[in-house]
Structures are given as C-alpha cells and as structure tokens.
Symmetry: C2
Subunit: 657 residues, 2 copies
C-alpha cells in the first residue's frame, strides 16, 4: 500500500483532462490570404458573393443559335443559318444572333444577345459561297435540333450569389481553395493558431548547435524542439523562449513574458528543484495552480494552472489580457512527449479548430505479454511492427523509464493501460496513440550486433528499425518472437531456430593510437603490460571473441581466464558502440580498446589484429516469407557492393565451412 | 467504333505514368535548420557525432558512492559513509568520492571521480552530529547495497558517437527532431522540395481578388490556386507565374522562364486554342513532347514533355541547367485536380521523397449502380458518405463533366474505372483516391431546397454536405437511397417514405425594387401588367407554390394556367438560388422576381406576399437512428433560435395540421 499512498493527492487522468479543457487557449480568428490558407479551418460560413459563372456561358465549341431556329433539323434535313460573327472566351460579344443567324462560339465564351443554345461543332458543316475562301464560310448547316439552354451554363448555375459555399469549421484543402478562388475570394477568416510559449528551465540544458561542456554535465535541450514540433503539428504556433540558465529572476521574467505573449505556456520538468520552485512561486503569486501531479505514469510531475497577464516587457503588439494557460511537462523526453501527446496536443487542436487526424491512432496486437500493477494509469511507450499480413501491427513495450532519447525513435506511440489492468496478454488488442500522425510503423525489425557493413545494409531498406542490443540479447529477442531478424557476430552459445540470410566476416583486434606508440603486438601485452584498456559489453559479439581469445591464452599459460582478465586494467570498463573504444583511444582516455580494423583505419588509429569473426543475419523462420525480409535477403545478395572499401571485411558464402 | 477511333493515338494511362516517371523532377538536397525540418525527409543517414549522455550521469536523486563500500548493507545493518559534498545538474563536480565517502547527487548530474554507483535518496538517512544543523549532515546511512553502474547512465549509453541514429529517407516528425536535438544537430540535410511552376494560359482568367468583367466572359482562375495548394500538399514548392493574358510572346517568355526556374512546369488547359498552340510551339522548338493525350476520361487534353533550359531572364540565383519537366492539365477544375491527383502528385511526392499518406485513399462501396462504357479508363469523381456503421463509406458519382467548380467540394475523390468495366453494381467495393489526404468524408448528406434558415441549421452540424438541388430532385434522390435527408418546400406530388424531423414555414411572394415603384399588389399584376419577371426552376419548392397560385388565379378566370404563364414576361427565365431573383431585381435586370420576404428585407427590396409555405426536413427511414441524423433532429428542436430575426419565418410544430 505504501506505493499507492503517494498517489492519494494526485489528480485522476480524467480530472487532468477536464482541467485542461477548462483552460481557454483559443486565439481570436484571423484573416489570411487564400494561398496561405491550406490546412487552416474556416472561422465562419462563406456565402457566394457573386454568380459563377457571372454570365451565360457556352460549354462547348460550336455555334450560338436561337434554339427555335433549329427545331426539326436533323442529319437528313439540316437547317442553314447565316454566320454573323464569332465570340471567343475572354472577349465581349460584338454580334447579336437574330432569327435565322448564328455566331461561332468557343467554350467559355459569353453567349451573344439573342442566342439561347449552342450547337456542337461536330453536328454542323460549313456551307455557302465563301466556305473555302480566306474570309471563312458565310453559312452553317446545322444537323441537329437543340433546346433552349443546350450546351449553355447559365449565370449562377454553378454557384449563385447568396448561396452557402463553405460551412464554418471547414478545413481548407486544395479543392476548397479552388472554390474560394472561383468566388474571387483572396483572403479568408480562419481560426487563429494558438500561440504556445515553451520555456526551458534546466541549468544543464544547452540549445542544439551551441557548444556543450560535458564535464559540467551539460546536455542538449531535447524537449524544447520536440514539443515545438508537436505544437506546430497540432496546429499551434510555437514560440521558443531563450534559456534562463540558473538565473531565477530571469526565469520568472521569461515566464511572465511568455504568459503575456502566448495562449499557453509549456515548460518541461527540470531536474533542478529550484527551477520548479520558481514556477510554483510565479503561479502562486500571479495565477492559479489547478492541479499538481496526475495519477498516470509518467505524469506525476505534471502541473496545470493559469498565469495572470500584465506587467511584463512583452513584445510590442502583444495586447493579450486576462490569463494564459500553463502546463508543466515531465523532464524525460519520452515522458514529456507522451504527456504532450495525450493531454496537450488535443487541447491545442481543439483551440485551433483542427480535427484529430485519422492516422493519430492505430489498432495493434501485443507481441508479448506485459505485466503491470502500480494502481495508476500507465501510458506505456510501445514500438510497432507492421507485418503487412492483413492483421493489425505488432505492439511491444520499449521504454523502461530510463530517460533515453533513443526511446524517442524506438517508440512509435503509447498505449494507455488502465489502472485495473494487471496483465496484457500476448495477442491482446490495444489502441496505440502515435507520437505523430506522420509516424509510419517500420516494416522490418532487426536486433543484435552493431556493425558498419550492417549500417550500409540498413540504408538500402525501406523504413527498417534496428536496435543495436548486441548479439546475445539479439538472439534472445529473436527467440522471444518479436523481431524479424537478428544480427549475430562471433561465436554464440544460444541455440535459436533461425534461417541464415547472409553472412560476412570482419577483422577485429586491439585498436591503439596512431603509430602504435606502446608497440602492442597482441593480447599478451594487455595482460602483461601496463596499458589502460577499454572493453565492449558482454552482449557484444566482439566481447565474446575477445573473451574466447583470452581463454585460449589462459589455456596456453595453464591459467584461468579470470587470472588474466584481473590483470587487464579496464577489462570491466565497457562502452556501447563499435566506435566508442576507438574514440576513447583518440581522446587519450585509454591506451588500447577492443575494435574493428575498419574503424581503426577510418578514424586514423593503429590496429593489432586478433582474428576474424563472422557476422550473420538470421531471420525468424515464420518471417522468412515476408516481403520486407525478402528485401533484406535481396540486399544481402549484393554483399560485394556492401563491403567494398571496408578494410578487414570479406564475403562469406553461405556454403563456406 | 467511331468513338474509339479518336483514342487510337492516345497514350494508355500506364504509358502516361511511365513517361512521367521518366521525367526528372528531383531537386538537389538542401540543408535546413532543425526547427524548420518537420515533415521533411532526410537526404542521408545521420550518425551520432557525440556520445549521449556525454558523461556518466546520475539517473536518480541520491548519493554517489563506491559500490564496493555498500556491499552487505541492508535495512537491518546500514553502512555509514562520510558526506564530502554535493553535485548538481549542470555543474562540474568539485569533489572526489574516496573509499568510505559519498557525495549528494541530483538526477542528471555528472558522477564525481571515484564514484561508480548511486544510492537512491529513499534508501538513505542523514546521521551524525550536524544532521540538524544548517551546515547539513556529515554522515549518510546507506540501507541497501548497490552494484557498480546502479542508477548511473554511462557516457554514450543512450546513443554512442558513431552509431547510426536515423536512416536516409526518414520522415522527420517531432520525435526524430528530438533525437537530432539530443545529438546537438541544428541543421539537417533533407531532400529538396521540387519547384513547380504554374502557368495560366486562358485569356478569360482573372486572379482572385482582382476585378472581374463578366460582360467580357472573364472568370476567376481556379486551377492555379487549387493546383498550387496540391503541389504544396504533395511536398513541392509552387511558383505562380503572372498571367500572360492574350499576349503570346509574353506567354512564351513566361513558359521559358518557368522552365529555367523550376523542376516541373504545369499549365492547365485553356479554352483558347491559340494558347495551346503557343505551348506546342515552345515545346517543339526547345524541348520534347513525350505524349499528347491520354486514353482516360478526363485526360484527353493532357500533355507530357520536357522544356530545355537556358536563355530566359530567369530569377537571379536560378542556376538550373538541362531540362524542366512539363505537364499540361485539362481545363475544367475537377478534371485538372483529378489528373493532378492521379498522375502529377505521386511524381512530386516521389521527387520530394515523401511517402503517400495513408489517408490518401479509402475503400468504399457504391451507393448506386453506375453504367459506363466508353472503352477508355474513367476517373470518376465521387462523393462519399460515412455512415459510421462500421462499414466502409458510401460512394456515389457526382460530376457529369459540366466543368462546375462546385463539383470540387461535392466530390471527395475519384474512382478509377477500368476500360473493360461496363457497370459498377450497387454495393460494389471501390477504391477512392481522395483529392487530399486531409479530405474527411461528410457524416451527413442532405439534398433539396435552399433556404436561409436551413443554412443556419447546417452551420450547427459537424461536417455536413448539402446539395441544393431543389425540393423535387431532393425527394427523388431520397427515394433512390443515397442521402440521409431531404429538405422539401411547398406542396409535392412525390410520395416518398420518409420521417419528418422538423418543419418551419416561410413567407414567399413577389420581390420588387425598394419602394415598389410599379405598385405591384399581387399575381394579377404579373399576368396583366407589363413587368419583366424572373422565376425559379421547376425543381424548386418556391416555383411549385408559385405555379399553384397561378393555377388558382387561372381557375378564378376560367382560364388554363398556360394561358396565364404565356402572358408573364420572363416566366421561363429561371435563376438558381433563393437570392438570385432578388439580385436581378436590385441590378435592374428585371422588375419583379420570385422570392422570400426574408431575402427582400435583408437586401432592401420591396415585397408583395403571396403566401406561406412549409419547409420540412425529412429523413430516410433507415437512417433515422444514425448519430448524425439524431444531431440534425436535435438541432431542429432548437427551431426558435434558428428562426430568430428571419422575417416571414415561423415555427411549425410537427403536430400542427
């Protein structure tokens, strides 16, 4: 029960939604030029101010006639009419069609006085003395009867002045823009875009593009740009306020300015408690805190309130009065985007008059079972995999609350799991709220080792997702049935039922500084020398080959492997990706690292080869027939091109021993 | 066979598609700031240039420790460590954690030297002499053991320098923008937007917002703005070139300039043959005509070609060489948009690297049977009606090739009907290519009389479509089973099974100029006097009441109605909408018109009442339970508000006789 206690004062998700619904984010309507109106929503009904067409208009090329003159005419017994002139589109008729006469007319031209119908040119023939002369014919034989109004679009027949053309709340797509243009409308009243101010509150945050001082623990500000893009997508106008750093007076000034200039102010949780204190203080002094914490994972740090306007040095022209809405988001990027997607984006859309896009949610089925039971709603970040088998996509949980920014692109959206749901079964139907209506679930999911040749392979595929979890973890996941394929480097203990799609080898060894200043010649130098080393994690295939080589060396010396690893300074120090040890070497943090000949060569380091290892792409047997997997296999058939210019790489035929 | 002959030289739709695929519309990649990159498509793979995080980072608030110091600690037997300082996020650690010591640490802060794990604050207690003093505690009791790395995110653990972050062709949504920001990337290489020049070629076309001279047959240019919006939607950058009018040298100059400045030049068919001649001449002199006419209705006038670049007075900075693609579209707005949607938009998307949105097509079922058999593919404009009954939406053909711009908003998309298909059955499944991925099928379809109170009613509904086809045609369509409801004014002969949802009455009569200069007092003045009159069409309920009144007058005079109508000057002259006759009166084109007291009053005319007629909203019996129809009925319950301030309108209860 102790875990539940802390949620006692938290608002329910429904209460949070209601509090946000009660905020007034709606900006005043505005008038925009039609050419900028695509995607906007009409603020009011548009009635036609003119008749379209504005005149009786020929709708065929032919001859304008008095219909009565053609009565009785047919192929056998044509009627002849005197040709008195011609009328072209865009010109004022300078003829009158009297009884017994006709005038040549082009599609779109004004019907001349007297005429009430058009005979299509195909049903006429030029006759008379001058029919071959340059001056043209003087008589026209009409071989059909027409009724008054035939092939004539009368004035206002398309749309008449005063008629309802487009209703309020109509979203303007190209065709509505076309209709507005037909009516001569060149600017339209549309719903305003809510201005949404985004205030950064973390001392450690640096704007992308600026220099980062990692020794001070600085990181790039992810949430401001992510949320700004989300605001824009939802139909709002994001305004990024400058960083206040750790100057709390400045932060307060910025919050007040944002309130004065915007309909909604968003901040995302700072890890600095004092920054949160400033926000509290500003809201309490000049505003209302409506709720503070929501019983939803990850919404605990969420704040909802109002900020009074007035008194700031707001930008000129900002004449807003009253209050601005305020919502505080969690700090972790996936959490911030999750709460934004679930609670804030719908409010912005509503204020902008924009409907939720049909692609904002998809139905899926759980690819694995998932246990849960914290007694509050969970917004579970999930990845999707579209098997294109006519079924809804597979759904698997991805983020474990680590705050990783990579989860942003590994997760496609969130599933709202009810507080009472303790277990989601494999195969269970769930609704996924996508992080963006533009998110397309990948059609291929790979897991396993990271490798430069693999990166090239992935570049050739359409919309793959690859999670570089290492060879061992990759095989485990393949066995558990979610991914299509695993990429496995080096030897492996795991016996997983899989189909080999292709394989290459890569040369691995010890990466040392350029020129090999410590004269490293092999593994023994790491064990016996005084070198600082950096390793790869145990899930990595490189590590497995390294450990096997150490085992061989230990056997040669009648020692245990543990005896040797104890003597390697840095054996336990592991870094994540294939380039990471090499970069440590370059940075001078270490004397040697586990790596590939390719990476050493590319980044200008020395390299001591310890051997070659196979890298195999292995598919789940039940996925081999999928089109995306077949494309992967096809791309692997072009191995020579994939491996070209990669030092230490070579082709390994599937039939090689 | 004669009809087929003319298609002998036309390209097949497949050949047209291939010719367009062969055109090179792809612009060079460009670099854009991340904040403007949403919706763009990466031109190349993005690898991480830095480790994220760039340092070993505490992922919990607590104490940074040497994990080894905590081994064996538990609730019963805590370990005490000396507190040597504190590290905050965004600050450089100024302490070292030696054996037996710890440092307070905030989430996100840099791990101080010596420490390799974090104990959560919840599992610790402040102890020692100074625990209550202002200087803070000097010792911390740790009640749990932690392993090295616990609650620490190591440098590069999120994403490591050198790792593949985003693949080429990734569409950038908020989450990808977040990942790019985490990597410090503030500008990205993206696929360029194809520049698409739009050249207007009709003498009669006037840009919206400018003055229109209807007597010269001028109309507003619909296609330029419609296609420009479509280009933008497909990921291109539209460039509208100024009108050349009928100056053919100028038109040639513009075409060449557009070719020099753009990747693709579009023109839409002019009704003027000479304009087409200029296009031909320019393409033949400096380019290639690849195909000329496509065997698809309405694609006959379609042109595909290339225009050589060079020699024009192109805008400075336009350094394109080689060729520009050229496509000529038909002239009717719906035809132009249809051909654009089917052939051109996919090519622009492809060149921009944009996938076709999932909402670009929908599956539907034919609401009526449709016969066809011209021996070429038909791109049939259709309307949709989403019954929200779990089935796919109803599909019905709408445009009969009239060139009406209203078809733009009455049609939601097109169905490609195979040349061999002679009949589409009612209920048959069809795929509808929507005119825009943003098109939302209406949820209510009404047909019938036009009426000012009805316009207000429609404004209160969400996404209705109403076709003002008149009472008689409305009832016919209701009987045929497509619409949900018909609005019927005045008496009717048709006996259609329908449910009355609500009803009001409106006063109708003769609209005359302000002050009634001809002293009109009733119907007899139209018959016996010398007045010019303007009528409404026979489908209109107003016309039916007018004819009935004339019938009564004829009976009084022992004459036939025809005897009377023959004597009304303008009886056969009909105009489309309820305001149209009033506007004719105001313009001085006529002395009297058939209309409503409401319209006469609103537009400042005189009015001679001839009676009241009921306007009834009648629903198809099988649609009454639909939510959208229930909303219509609900809105009708608020009739008093709908009718307020409408002169001549009154409520008619459903129970009134």
């Amino acid at each position: 029960m102790s875990d539940r206690k802390e949620f006692r004062d938290l608002a329910t998700p429904e209460a949070a939604r209601e509090a946000i619904d009660d905020l007034d984010l709606s900006p005043a309507p505005e008038t925009v030029p039609v050419e900028e109106a695509r995607g906007r929503v009409l603020a009011e009904r548009i009635d036609a101010a003119i008749d379209v067409p504005g005149f009786d208009r020929a709708s065929m090329d032919g001859y304008a006639v008095r219909a009565r003159d053609t009565f009785g005419a047919d192929e056998a017994d044509p009627t002849e009419l005197d040709l008195v002139g011609a009328v072209h589109a865009g010109a004022k008729p300078d003829v009158t069609v009297d009884p017994g006469t006709c005038a040549e007319i082009s599609t779109g031209a004004v019907m001349p006085d007297g005429a009430d119908g058009v005979v299509m040119v195909e049903r006429t023939e030029e006759v008379g003395e001058d029919s071959d002369a340059e001056s043209g014919p003087d008589r026209i034989a009409v071989r059909t009867a027409v009724a008054p109004g035939d092939h004539v679009m009368s004035a206002g027949a398309d749309i008449a002045a005063g008629a309802r053309a487009l209703g309020p709340e109509t979203r303007l797509t190209p065709r509505e823009i076309g209709l507005l243009s037909a009516l001569g409308v060149d600017e339209v009243p549309v719903r305003g875009k809510p201005r949404v101010g985004i205030v950064s509150t973390g001392d450690e945050l640096v704007r992308p593009g600026e220099d980062l001082d990692s020794s001070r623990g600085e990181i790039y500000d992810v949430n401001s740009t992510t949320i700004a893009a989300g605001v824009e997508e939802a139909g709002g106008e994001p305004v990024l306020y400058p960083h206040a750093g750790d100057d709390y007076d400045e932060m307060e000034r910025l919050l007040r300015r944002a309130a004065d200039e915007c309909d909604l102010v968003l901040s995302s949780g700072s890890t600095s408690a004092s920054a949160v204190d400033v926000i509290y203080r500003v809201i309490e002094e000049r505003g209302d805190l409506l709720l503070h914490g929501v019983a939803v994972k990850p919404g605990k740090p969420m704040l909802v309130g109002r900020l009074d306007r007035g008194g700031s040095d707001a930008a000129p022209g900002s004449d807003r009065t009253g209050e601005s809405a305020y919502i505080g988001l969690p700090g972790y990027p996936v959490s911030a985007l999750t709460i934004f997607r679930t609670f804030v984006a719908p409010a912005i859309r509503e204020a902008a008059g924009q409907p939720e896009p049909a692609t904002a949610t998809v139905e899926g089925r759980m690819a694995v079972g998932e246990r849960y039971g914290e007694g509050r709603m969970r917004l579970m970040p999930v990845g999707l995999l579209d098997l294109n088998d006519g079924e809804s996509p597979l759904v698997y949980p991805v983020d474990k609350g680590s705050g990783a920014t990579t989860s942003l692109v590994e997760a496609d959206g969130v599933v709202a799991v009810d507080p009472d749901t303790e277990y989601l079964d494999r195969g269970e139907r769930v609704t996924v709220q996508l992080f963006s209506p533009d998110v397309r679930p990948p059609t291929l999911l790979g897991v396993g080792e990271d490798d430069p040749a693999l990166n090239r392979l992935l570049d050739r595929l359409e919309n793959p997702r690859y999670l570089p979890v290492g060879s061992r973890e990759g095989l485990r996941r393949l066995r558990d049935g979610v991914p299509d394929a695993a990429v496995v480097a080096g030897p492996t203990d795991r016996d997983v039922d899989a189909v080999d799609l292709g394989e290459w080898t890569r040369e691995w060894g010890i990466v040392v500084p350029k020129g090999n200043p410590d004269d490293v010649t092999g593994l023994a130098d790491l064990v016996d020398g005084d070198l600082r080393f950096v390793n790869r994690p145990t899930d990595s295939g490189l590590r497995r080959s390294f450990d096997d080589a150490l085992g061989d060396l230990a056997a040669d010396r009648d020692a245990s492997r543990g005896d040797l690893t104890e003597r390697i300074d840095g054996y336990e120090l592991t870094v994540r990706a294939f380039e990471s040890p090499v970069r440590k070497v370059i940075a001078g943090d270490t004397d040697a690292g586990l790596g590939l000949r390719e990476t050493a060569a590319r980044l200008g380091c020395g390299f001591v080869s310890l051997g070659e290892q196979a890298v195999a792409v292995r598919a789940a047997p039940d996925r081999v027939k999928r089109e995306a997997v077949a494309e992967l296999a096809d791309a692997l058939d072009d191995l020579d091109n994939l491996l070209v210019d990669l030092p230490g790489y070579s082709r390994k035929s599937r039939n090689d021993p």
